[in-house]
């Protein structure tokens, strides 16, 4: 198939209400054939695993590419230099960042908007937003910056704005906004990286303030909050979020996204943690045993694999470093495998890499 055909088809799929299993399988296999043909490193990867167009009979057979591969090779079906945009991964391997090329952002944008509306906005058309993250101009290669910019542009009211300044949170502006929301009774939404909210807690604690945002207000946080001054437990985090801003935990939505994907996943609030996450109908998640690649039983821990049809230019199927457990129609996110700490005195790779980036003596 040609690139334009693939894109056109995808745009239709993204706008449809649902996909049957057979339909999903059909599109996934079609996309696999396209990527196998046009993405050379991916083809080699498949061949190494003994997988070809002939032997891959179901979307579950498509070899899952580890997210690290994005740091090693250009996983793209079109020349990288012709890409409209590329997003860079935050994690690095010995200083190298992974790149995810998008020949057009058309599909990515539609994927984001469609599912953001469904899972975050719901019945609301527009809401006044405050964004706790740098702008797209400041971080042109951040998929999260793009995501938040699009959220603000498409679903934010005119008065929506960024709350981060050069020196972190623009506290004055933030307080103005929160006070305004309290006074006017107009629902307010704050969206940003989870760690920015941790900073927000700290800032508000310093001045001893908390707010009671009006009904209909919502929060969206994403990413982890590791390496902060304090290690936050999930439950503790949402408790504090809800306490400080006066938004019920059911309206505190966590978005689970990755630079390596072109779609996002969400939960339905965080009254209970860990919450159950799920993605749109064009994305399917499997929980597998890392060595055999076979799906594990419901309720058993495994590694999360996503097959995202919107990832048309790179690889549809991604092997994450996240551990999860299938629950009903979604899954629990149980944390990230951080290179796993060595048990004894054998050196952990991470520690070693850290040493390598430090001056020797």
């Amino acid at each position: 198939m040609e690139l334009q055909q693939i894109i056109n088809q995808l745009m239709t799929v993204l706008q449809s209400d649902s996909l049957s299993d057979d339909e999903f399988n059909h599109y996934a296999l079609q996309l696999f054939a396209y990527q196998y043909t046009n993405n050379l490193p991916f083809r080699k990867f498949c061949q190494q695993k003994g997988k070809t167009i002939r032997t891959v009979k179901s979307w579950k057979d498509i070899p899952a590419v580890p997210i690290n591969a994005f740091k090693e090779v250009a996983l793209t079906c079109t020349p990288p230099e012709e890409a409209e945009r590329y997003f860079m991964t935050s994690g690095t391997t010995q200083g190298v960042k992974g790149k995810h090329y998008h020949p057009t952002l058309q599909v990515w944008n539609l994927s984001m908007k469609t599912y953001f509306k469904q899972r975050f906005m719901k019945e609301t058309e527009k809401i006044r937003m405050g964004i706790l993250f740098p702008t797209e101009e400041e971080m042109p290669n951040s998929s999260l910056a793009r995501y938040l910019a699009l959220a603000k542009q498409e679903f934010g009211t005119e008065e929506s704005h960024y709350l981060l300044g050069e020196n972190g949170i623009d506290l004055e502006r933030l307080i103005q906004e929160l006070e305004h929301a309290e006074r006017s009774d107009e629902p307010y939404a704050i969206l940003g990286a989870s760690f920015s909210f941790v900073h927000l807690f700290e800032e508000l604690a310093k001045i001893g303030r908390s707010f009671q945002l009006p009904a209909g207000s919502k929060i969206l946080d994403t990413g982890g909050f590791k390496n902060q001054s304090k290690e936050w437990e999930l439950g503790e985090f949402y408790h504090e979020l809800s306490r400080v801003l006066g938004v019920p935990r059911k309206d505190c939505i966590n978005m689970y996204g990755m630079t390596e994907l072109s779609s996002q996943l969400y939960d339905t609030g965080n009254e209970q943690v860990p919450s159950i996450k799920s993605g749109p109908h064009w994305l399917k998640t499997r929980i597998i045993h890392p060595l055999t690649g076979k799906e594990v039983a419901e309720g058993e821990r495994g590694v999360i694999v996503h097959c995202d049809l919107a990832n048309f230019n790179s690889v549809s199927t991604i092997l994450t470093e996240d551990l999860g457990m299938k629950v009903g129609e979604g899954f629990l996110l149980l944390g990230r495998v951080q290179g796993t700490e060595a048990k004894g005195c054998s050196l952990a790779v991470e520690e070693f890499i850290k040493a390598a980036t430090e001056p020797t003596r």
Binding site: L40, P41, K44, F45, Q48, K49, V65, P66, N68, A69, K71, E72, V73, T93, H289, P290, L291, T292, G293, R301, G302, V303, L319, E321, L323, V337, G339, T340, E341, A342, K343, G344, C345, S346, L347, A348, V349, E351, F352, I353, A355, A356, T360, R361
Partner: protein, 482 residues
């Protein structure tokens, strides 16, 4: 099954809290009951151990102490003894290592602490063992004596079973009171050793303690570190660093951080007859305790120009690892470890696409991975039987990439003719390697080795000198003076 951990001296009628650590392997469940002492109880233990060791151990001769340790080791070497049977049964459950690997590993390890080896231990560090018993004349005139600290506190890691014996026995040899904290990963062996020791020599019953607390318990560590004269710590640099912040400046801290080891194979070891044997030995160093030791190799540098090329050698190594998997299967990895292994492997595969000389052997469901590469950078693998083979022409080509990691280097296993052995040892010594050994022996250091280039006993003791002037001066006050 349930097993109680540790060993406590007599601190009177105290009710000791316990915490249950559960281990499972192939359907077998072992509950390990770890004593959790209160601060007050911990203080009682430290005082008891300090007093008893100064009254008992310090008045024993080094020969007596060596004989006692020897007898205890004999019990543990005896496959019919209750303790040995228990070790062979329970350690595989706790550590996940293969039964046979544990059995052979224990024997080869314990052998190093028999009488003659212990004598070597002492002589290696002190020259004259009697220095531990009394003042000995010095060549420069005067006299010296080696005095061990009153209390040594050991914070052990659990990567390889029985490993705490190195530092615990060193502590006993210098006649110190010893308190060891076992790790949650292997909490058993040190306690058994203490129990055997006391059965063999009841007079030592209050001279040592083996306890447990959750690693990183700041308040507890801060409190207990105050009582110790020396703290010996094992672990990652991060945990050692945080430990060191809790140690008062007057307490000596001997940290043993994570290290990385590698092998170097000269083309002399790669003729058609020797290459297979070389690969066999190299594979053993990899499978033994699944590369969890500081002495475990992560990389083998293989010289070009032999009958068997480095790439062929990598293939040999892969075959050897596969046959070892049948005999000594890899332990069951945690999901996290498996995921890390798969990602490491996949990443190597992917990077081989842009590097035609690179090869990745085996499949994801194999319990090992061998990567062959040319000119690759020095970097540890993710352990658990993953190894890199890197081809080289001359040693000088690989040194620059290794020397950057000076602080982390430990053992180099070398397969080379004597001339190269010494030439290479010289070079490696200069860039921070502290142990050169044969292939097949990497995971089994000799008795009296210099762990990370340091001394086992000398680092623990302090020397007391009687200077010649004092001796001469004393003559002046003698009753027999004319």
């Amino acid at each position: 099954m349930r097993e109680r951990v540790g060993y406590l001296p007599d601190i009177g009628e105290e009710i000791i809290d316990t915490k249950i650590l559960t281990f499972t392997r192939k359907g077998e469940v072992l509950e390990v009951e770890a004593p959790q002492l209160t601060m007050e109880q911990m203080q009682l233990v430290t005082e008891k151990v300090k007093t008893a060791s100064s009254e008992v151990l310090k008045n024993m001769s080094i020969t007596e102490i060596i004989s006692i340790i020897d007898s205890a080791i004999e019990v543990l070497l005896d496959r019919h003894s209750t303790y040995r049977k228990k070790a062979e049964m329970l350690l595989p459950i706790v550590t996940g290592y293969d039964k046979e690997m544990i059995r052979l590993g224990l024997t080869s390890f314990l052998k190093k602490f028999r009488k003659h080896e212990l004598q070597r231990f002492v002589v290696e560090d002190l020259g004259n063992p009697l220095l531990l018993d009394g003042f000995q004349p010095r060549v420069k005139r005067g006299y010296s004596k080696a005095v061990g600290p009153d209390l040594i506190l050991h914070v052990w890691a659990g990567n390889v079973p029985a490993l705490p014996l190195w530092s615990l026995i060193s502590g006993l040899l210098v006649k110190s009171g010893n308190i060891g904290k076992v790790s949650s990963a292997e909490p058993l062996f040190a306690g058994w050793f203490a129990q055997v020791l006391v059965e063999v020599a009841p007079q030592l019953k209050d001279c040592l303690a083996v306890v447990w607390w959750k690693g990183g318990d700041e308040a507890r560590e801060k409190e207990i570190f105050r009582y110790a004269d020396v703290v010996v710590g094992y672990g990652s640099n991060t945990s050692l660093e945080s430990m060191s912040r809790r140690i008062p400046v007057t307490t000596r801290f001997l940290p043993f951080g994570h290290k990385v080891s590698f092998g170097v194979i000269s083309n002399a070891a790669l003729d058609s007859r020797k290459a297979l044997a070389t690969a066999h030995q190299a594979a053993f160093d990899i499978i033994q305790f699944d590369q969890q030791g500081c002495y475990s190799p992560h990389i083998f540098y293989v010289q070009k120009g032999g009958n068997v090329t480095p790439a062929e050698f990598a293939q040999y190594l892969a075959q050897e690892l596969e046959s070892y998997q049948k005999r000594y299967p890899r332990r069951t990895l945690t999901l996290e470890e498996m995921t890390a292994a798969v990602h490491w492997r996949n990443q190597e595969e992917v990077s081989s696409f842009s590097n035609p000389a690179k090869q990745v052997f085996g499949q994801t469901d194999h319990h090992w991975t061998v990567v062959y590469e040319e000119g690759a950078a020095f970097s540890p693998t993710c352990s658990n039987r993953t190894v890199k083979v890197i081809a080289f022409d001359e040693l000088e080509d690989i040194l620059p990439s290794i020397q950057h990691y000076r602080k982390f280097l430990q053992s180099a296993g070398i397969a080379a003719a004597p001339k190269d052995l010494f030439r290479w040892a010289e070079k490696f010594g200069n860039i921070g390697v502290t142990r050169i050994t044969a292939l097949g022996k990497m995971t089994s250091p000799e008795a009296g080795w210099h762990h990370d280039g340091r001394f086992n006993l000398l680092d623990l003791v302090q020397m007391v000198d009687i200077e010649h002037s004092a001796e001469e001066y004393a003559e002046y006050f003698a009753a027999y003076i004319d």
